[in-house]
């Protein structure tokens, strides 16, 4: 009891003595024990491998022989001698720039529809969320391949209205866009977050605006969007990171090749090929760290931009 009522400086003095340290360990031991699985997981499975890969990115390593330190050669090669690095970066950036805004816009539109106080909302919410749970799975990617194949469902529907569709996934002009559509289809998770955000906006805000004569469009632009901006920002950051990391759909739909003609060669797919196709672990590690830096830059830009468009009501 007396220990618990000590002032902070007094407690700090006590902590210095070894017997007190032991007492503290005894007192908090159970807590650390409960923390242990997470601590082990974090140090052994996340931080450890991450630091190891940072080291490996400066080596030549084929998994079988000892890593050989080669300085910054991997990074130099990336920017000077590797056209596939540039190609995959281009594909990924295009994918991010297309899929993220489209997905967010679609998610917001659905959230606004669902927010109109309809009956059975929980059911619709669950149904619309379902693709997000399934979306990144192999099964859906396979399904997508069937849908957009030259004799797939999409083309047979188009044929009904007299349009002869191309083979979407084997045509380099369209293949990336089928993946963008797949990504937009997985709008559930940002939609749920938008819906929660929309419900936070007091209805009297809209009532005041409608008495002020504001049209629905003006209410959306001047009230909904500004008040939702923290949620938009959150979704933007999360979805951008997700889009940079996208891998499964491209892997399945292109059969792991990133084809046709590298049109779906996502950065992560290229990284995977280098690591597990050619066993160039050092080079793949360097690719991974470049991706980390690029994501960090995008995230930092997003954060820096908040003061111009995100409204915080604190």
């Amino acid at each position: 009891m007396a220990e618990q009522t000590l002032s902070r400086p007094a407690a700090a003095r006590m902590r210095a003595s070894p017997s007190r340290l032991g007492a503290a360990m005894r007192r908090n031991g159970a807590g650390y024990l409960f923390l242990a699985p997470w601590l082990l997981g974090f140090f052994l499975l996340t931080l450890g491998p991450a630091l190891a890969s940072l080291y490996l990115s400066f080596t030549d390593f084929d998994l079988l022989t000892t890593p050989e330190f080669i300085g910054a050669q991997n990074y130099v090669r990336m920017v000077t001698q590797d056209p596939k690095f540039a190609a995959s970066m281009k594909v990924t950036l295009l994918y991010v720039l297309l899929s993220v805004p489209l997905k967010l816009a679609f998610a917001l539109a659905v959230a606004m529809l669902l927010n109109r106080g309809m009956q059975g909302l929980p059911v619709y919410r669950a149904i619309f969320y379902l693709p997000s749970l399934l979306g990144t799975s192999v099964a859906i990617a396979v399904l997508w391949r069937q849908l957009f194949a030259s004799d797939g469902l999409v083309n047979s529907l188009l044929a009904q209205i007299g349009i002869e569709g191309p083979s979407w996934i084997s045509n380099p002009n369209y293949s990336l866009y089928t993946l963008v559509v797949l990504s937009v289809w997985q709008f559930g998770s940002p939609m749920i977050i938008f819906l929660a955000g929309l419900r936070q906006i007091p209805t009297d805000m809209y009532e005041a605006a409608s008495l002020d004569g504001a049209s629905p469009t003006r209410q959306f632009l001047r009230i909904t969007l500004p008040l939702l901006s923290p949620v938009v920002f959150f979704n933007l950051v999360i979805q951008t990171i997700e889009a940079f990391k996208a891998f499964t759909p491209a892997f399945i739909i292109s059969g792991g090749s990133g084809g046709p003609i590298n049109s779906t060669l996502f950065y992560t797919l290229y990284l995977y090929q280098e690591a597990f196709g050619y066993f160039r672990m050092g080079y793949a590690s360097a690719l991974a760290w470049v991706l980390v830096i690029i994501i960090a830059i995008f995230t930092a830009i997003s954060f820096l931009s908040t003061k111009y468009w995100v409204h915080h009501d604190d």
Binding site: M205, E207, A208, A209, L211, D212, G213, A214, H311, D313
Partner: protein, 356 residues
């Protein structure tokens, strides 16, 4: 010329649930009308129906003799002050005030002129660049009122605008709103559950209960001649005392004593009625008809007046008695209660008042 509002058999239903049940009401041009009643009586719903924020299930809403049921809220020439103020949190005070004018397409110079004039009137000029979150409750309230003034509406509606303010500020804002009404002369409707607000501000009070109008009248009409037991109990503080009585000739029997009331009673002897007496109309000793002796159970010294809770002899409810000034009464004292018969109210078993 101020605006006249008329409601004809107005009803509001949510599914099978009737919220407003056939209200007929005329609001005179330039009047300050207060809708008052307990929570759930439909006063806010009625206000929102006039504003155009709720649809009207049945009946007609006329503003200056024009049917407004299907006219959009923005086109009714109405401004409303919300209980929550409903200020746009992401806009500065200036932008909040300007939003409606900009929406209506006023030129920038005119918007600026009106915003600054309203800010000047409400003494919020210094805060124009602040966001609402940087304002106190009272300042937010002023901004909300300012937002209604700038648009120069025909009608002002207030939905419990002072309920989020502390007592002192509430009194101050009450005075300011009354002054604003005097200055502008517009038709104003004010919703509150606080009968003191209603009494102090209104030209005309509409007492509502269960979606029906209980009585319409000036504050003193409601106080002096309540149409029914509900209004009698709702208006006035402390509440009117009610006692069950039976008629006896041209008086009533109360606890074995015959009380001569100022009513011409035509009911058969022995008819049960309810006698209502305001606490401030009971005196201790002195002139008037006797209400019998009672034992003081509690004394509340308010300085300017003294409130006694007195239990009369027999098994009757305690009566509240308000005496002027500071009285030397103590708990346990026995006091003789008197009342001026002309100030007694009598109510039928259905609650309606017997008229003098």
């Amino acid at each position: 010329m101020a605006t006249r509002i008329e409601l004809k058999r107005v009803e509001k239903r949510y599914g099978a649930f009737d919220v407003i049940r056939g209200i007929d009401l005329e609001i005179k041009p330039g009047a300050f009308t207060v809708f008052v009643g307990p929570s759930g009586c439909g006063k806010s719903t009625l206000l929102r129906m006039i504003a155009g924020l709720e649809t009207i299930s049945d009946g007609d809403l006329l503003i200056d003799d024009e049917r407004m049921n299907d006219v959009a809220a923005a086109k009714r020439g109405i401004a409303m002050v919300f209980q929550s103020y409903a200020l746009y949190p992401h806009m500065s005070v200036y932008k909040n005030l300007a939003f409606g004018l900009e929406t209506a397409g006023y030129p920038r110079a005119e918007v600026d002129r009106r915003v600054r004039a309203a800010a000047e009137t409400l003494q919020i000029t210094d805060y124009l660049q602040r966001k609402p979150r940087a304002l106190s409750g009272g300042q937010r309230q002023r901004v909300a009122i300012g937002r209604s003034i700038v648009r120069d509406p025909r009608i002002f509606l207030f939905d419990e605008p002072l309920s989020n303010l502390d007592a002192e500020l509430r009194v101050q804002m009450r005075v300011e709103i009354s002054k604003m009404h005097e200055r502008l002369g517009n038709t104003m409707i004010y919703v509150t559950h606080d009968q003191v607000e209603a009494m102090t501000m209104a030209d005309q009070i509409v007492v509502l209960r269960g979606g029906k109008v209980m009585q319409v009248g000036s504050p003193l009409e409601l106080y002096n001649a309540p149409a029914n037991e509900f209004v009698a109990g709702f208006i006035g503080s402390p509440k009117m005392n009610f006692m069950p009585v039976k008629t006896e000739g041209d008086g009533v029997m109360l606890a074995g004593q015959r009380l001569q009331v100022g009513h011409a009673l035509t009911a058969a002897p022995g008819t049960p009625l309810t006698l209502g007496i305001r606490p401030e109309h009971i005196s201790v000793g002195g002139e008037g008809a006797s209400l019998g002796d009672g034992r003081v159970e509690l004394v509340e010294h308010l300085g300017g007046s003294t409130v006694l809770h007195v239990r009369p002899a027999g098994d009757r409810n305690a009566l509240a008695v308000v005496l002027p000034g500071q009285q030397p009464c103590r708990t346990g004292d026995t006091v003789p209660m008197r009342v001026d018969p002309a100030k007694c109210h009598l109510f039928n078993p259905d609650g309606s008042a017997l008229r003098h």
